[in-house]
């Protein structure tokens, strides 16, 4: 190891939450001068926890921290971290839209530029100008943050992080330290062009700063990083120095999701292959386009068929799924459900009426956590449980509601004392089962699934796959969006490969498995 280049080293860091969840297990990472270091991993792999330890949000259970070869204590709060030259730009909630650019840049730093209670505006604007010139941020200081493109907003945030470090170090009188800026999933809300712009900016800043780039978007990680650490289940599983070795996307993918192939895990499952050819087409998507997200998407979905939209995060697959359920509006294109064209501007309730169901992958958002299981199930199943004894009003039959929920609880093996149990007290896997399971009895014509098994354990996955395969057998068509290639192999008949918002290729299940070496 070249000690000259080493800036920060965090050794053997462990962290456990609530004495149960092992978030980090003896992880060692090193940050060098003037590099972009990527830390990649699935949700829950421990990336964020590690970063929060570095900036003093959490204390670690054990571990050591070295700064240019010298042992230092862990920062106890973000301000101490700043003094050591470490700052973080969070994924969201960073920007305050209705502040002017210079106001935002100096937010929280005003104290240092106040004389007799008056903010020294000229001085602030002067500094802001020179900082922006130096860093290459091009924007009008007087405009409001919300007026800037998202990528420029991020750049301003990064400039703010660098400026904060400089001012904090200036105070403590420490020698010139290379700032370390942690970027937590900075590209998540950006469109493809904006991402490139942001990366050009980072490459430019590399000569004076180091960046830790937290992400799960593989292509951009490969393109712009100097080194990559892969975290999985709280452990460091791989380290690649891209200046020395070459890594393929597939290899990185496999390291991130784990080496065990689904065939070993779910050996019992033959994927529920439908004799879909020749069956009627239930959904036709024609030239669907949303600027900056996806272009010219065209495919047909047949009855009982499952099509997977596959590609790196940011390729537009999730946006297409949302568009099909009316959560996002397309700019142009055609949607034909059951031989009838439907408006591309429709809302979820009108899509549901057309027989389209949707699971967002965000159980916490989707569930009514303080409702019992049975109400969460019946929210999409009113047709099955209402009775109209007087023909004028529809009345919910509580008995039918209970029976319906019990059926689903039993089928999905949801672990709960009864269907009256409120959902917040369920485990993550059970919550997910309730969320997906409510569609089981509704039997929509088309079910759109985003990450149906994200963040849940193997057993719960198994149960969910079983039910989805059964629904497929009963003629329900599906569209799957996921991060897990194995999931596609289990559920999909066809896999559409996407990149940069465009369809690249169409695989059959067998071809896909061969390509992914599953």
């Amino acid at each position: 190891m070249d000690i000259q280049k080493q800036l920060l080293e965090a050794k053997n860091i462990s962290k456990t939450f609530d004495n149960v969840v092992r978030a980090l297990d003896a992880v060692t990472i090193e940050v060098r001068k003037n590099e972009i270091l990527s830390v990649v991993g699935e949700n829950g792999a421990g990336k964020s926890t590690l970063m929060k330890i570095l900036v003093g949000v959490y204390p670690p259970d054990s571990g050591e921290l070295y700064h240019i070869g010298q042992r230092i204590p862990f920062p106890r709060n973000p301000i101490e971290a700043l003094r050591r030259g470490i700052s973080i730009v969070y994924q969201e909630r960073g920007v305050i839209p209705h502040l002017k650019v210079y106001q935002f840049l100096f937010l929280g730093l005003e104290e240092k530029f106040t004389r007799l209670g008056r903010l020294q505006l000229e001085k602030i604007i002067g500094i802001a100008k020179s900082v922006f010139d130096e860093l290459g941020v091009r924007c009008d200081l007087g405009s409001y943050m919300y007026e800037l493109p998202l990528s420029t907003q991020k750049m301003v945030e990064i400039a703010k992080a660098i400026l904060s470090i400089r001012l904090a170090i200036g105070d403590s009188g420490a020698p010139d330290i290379t700032p370390i800026i942690i970027l937590d999933e900075p590209t998540a809300p950006l469109s493809i062009e904006e991402r490139d712009e942001l990366f050009q900016y980072l490459l430019n800043l590399k000569k004076n700063n180091s960046f830790i780039f937290v992400s799960h978007i593989i292509p951009e990680v490969m393109k712009f990083s100097d080194r990559i650490y892969v975290l999985r289940d709280g452990k460091l599983v791989a380290h690649h120095d891209l200046s020395v070795e070459k890594v393929s996307e597939e290899q990185l993918f496999r390291e991130i999701v784990g080496r065990v192939s689904y065939y070993e895990l779910y050996g019992g499952h033959e994927y529920g292959r439908a004799e879909a050819e020749g069956r009627p087409i239930i959904l036709s998507v024609r030239n669907l386009t949303k600027k900056g997200y996806y272009q010219d998407i065209t495919f047909d979905l047949r009855e009982g068929e499952c099509i997977g939209l596959f590609g790196p995060a940011g390729c537009g697959k999730s946006e297409i799924a949302k568009t099909l359920y009316g959560e996002l509006l397309a700019d142009s294109g055609k949607l034909i459900v059951d031989n009838k064209e439907i408006s591309i501007k429709g809302e979820p309730h009108s899509r549901l009426r057309r027989g389209i169901g949707y699971f967002s992958g965000e159980t916490g958002k989707e569930l009514f956590l303080y409702w019992p299981i049975k109400k969460n199930v019946s929210i999409v199943n009113f047709e099955k449980i209402v009775r109209s004894p007087l023909k004028i009003v529809s009345v919910i039959s509580f008995k039918a509601e209970k029976i319906l929920a019990e059926k689903i609880v039993k089928k999905l093996r949801i672990k709960a004392p009864s269907v009256d149990t409120e959902c917040y007290s369920l485990s993550g896997g059970s919550k997910q089962k309730v969320s997906v399971g409510k569609w089981l009895e509704r039997s929509p014509k088309i079910l759109i699934l985003e990450d149906p098994t994200i963040g849940i354990d193997v057993g719960a996955r198994e149960d969910i796959y079983e039910v989805l395969l059964e629904m497929k057998k009963n003629g329900i068509s599906m569209i799957l969006v996921s991060d897990d290639p194995k999931e596609y192999a289990i559920l999909c008949d066809k896999i559409v490969l996407m990149r940069d918002g465009k369809i690249q290729k169409m695989y059959t299940n067998e071809e896909f498995k061969k390509v992914m070496e599953l």
């Binding site: 809302e347 309730h349 967002s360 958002k365 989707e366 009514f368 929210i379 009003v393 529809s394 009345v395």
Partner: protein
């Protein structure tokens, strides 16, 4: 098996039932001790019933809106406008003025709902604005004068005695029961709770959020209008003082009953308790000859305390 001694957890879970029930009992005992005439005769019971009935009708509608996670500040004004339309048109139209008053109320509800659902204007803002419109309209159609109606039929609507209680009481209880039915056993009621409890979830579950919002505001205004009609009949007049100081007591009675201002938690059934507490407190204090202004202070404090006690902090991180 339930333990015989209520556990801490049980107490916490049922806090929003225990508070109003024990509050009501304490209130009754307190008022009885302070004033030996309180509830001493059947007449005083009837006085209390008159005091709470029109109020309950309006509070039921407001509860629906609050359950849905919105606010309706236009309730007292719509109530006043409806009372005024009823009284002003009664000499020429007779009881046909009732549908006229209700139709106008429905329009206000529709506009309130539309402003929120279609134009994304926060409901407190939208309803404050429409309440001004209702106030102004009431002023315009009445010319600011009190409209006395001496026709006994007009008065009979609210004051016919049935089994010792005035008919307005039965109207109120009927509306209350209908609201309970609506919220507990119909899909529409479930949708109200869904929208108030988790807006994103409701949308993803395919609930027509805009429609639910508009309909709920319409029901609320319909009840406010009905309340105004009944009240005008009870006092034999429509005048500009109707509903003037009712805003805070209305909200207080919904919240005191245990419906959280954050939406999705509580229910119309609870509002009866809240109305009893607030109206009895009001009557009790006025029987003790306590000044109106002091009573206003009392209601303001109660509203704040109850809001603090009932807001569900588990679910809201940011309150605006």
């Amino acid at each position: 098996m339930r333990e015989s001694i209520p556990s801490r957890e049980w107490l916490q879970r049922n806090l929003n039932t225990i508070i109003p029930v024990s509050g009501l009992i304490l209130l009754l005992i307190g008022l009885r001790i302070a004033n030996p005439y309180f509830l001493a005769s059947w007449d005083s019971v009837i006085t209390l019933v008159y005091g709470m009935s029109f109020f309950l009708v309006a509070a039921c509608g407001l509860t629906l809106v609050i359950l849905m996670g919105s606010f309706d500040f236009s309730v007292p004004s719509v109530l006043k406008l409806s009372a005024m339309i009823f009284a002003v048109l009664y000499p020429s139209l007779g009881f046909l003025s009732i549908p006229a008053a209700l139709a106008v109320s429905l329009v206000f509800g529709f506009v309130n709902g539309l402003l929120l659902a279609r134009f994304n204007i926060p409901s407190f803002m939208a309803t404050l604005a429409t309440s001004m419109i209702a106030e102004g309209a009431a002023q315009v159609i009445s010319g600011g004068y009190t409209r006395m109606i001496t026709d006994p039929a007009f008065r009979a609507l609210s004051t016919t005695m049935i089994a010792g209680l005035p008919s307005i009481f039965y109207w109120a209880i009927a509306i209350w029961l209908i609201s309970i039915f609506l919220t507990f056993v119909t899909p529409f009621g479930r949708a109200i709770y869904a929208v108030g409890g988790n807006l994103v979830g409701a949308r993803l579950a395919g609930i027509n959020v805009k429609m639910v919002r508009i309909l709920t505001f319409m029901v609320c205004s319909l009840f406010a209008g009905l309340s105004g009609i009944l009240y005008a009949s009870q006092i034999q007049a429509g005048h500009m003082q109707v509903g003037v100081l009712d805003m805070i007591p209305l909200f207080a009675s919904v919240v005191v009953g245990g419906t959280a201002l954050t939406g999705g938690v509580g229910g119309v059934h609870r509002t009866l308790l809240g109305v009893l507490i607030i109206r009895w407190l009001d009557s009790g204090l006025s029987m003790l000859a306590i000044d109106l202004n002091v009573r206003m202070i009392v209601f303001g404090v109660i509203a704040i305390v109850m809001a603090i006690l009932t807001i569900d902090r588990r679910r809201i991180k940011i309150m605006k």
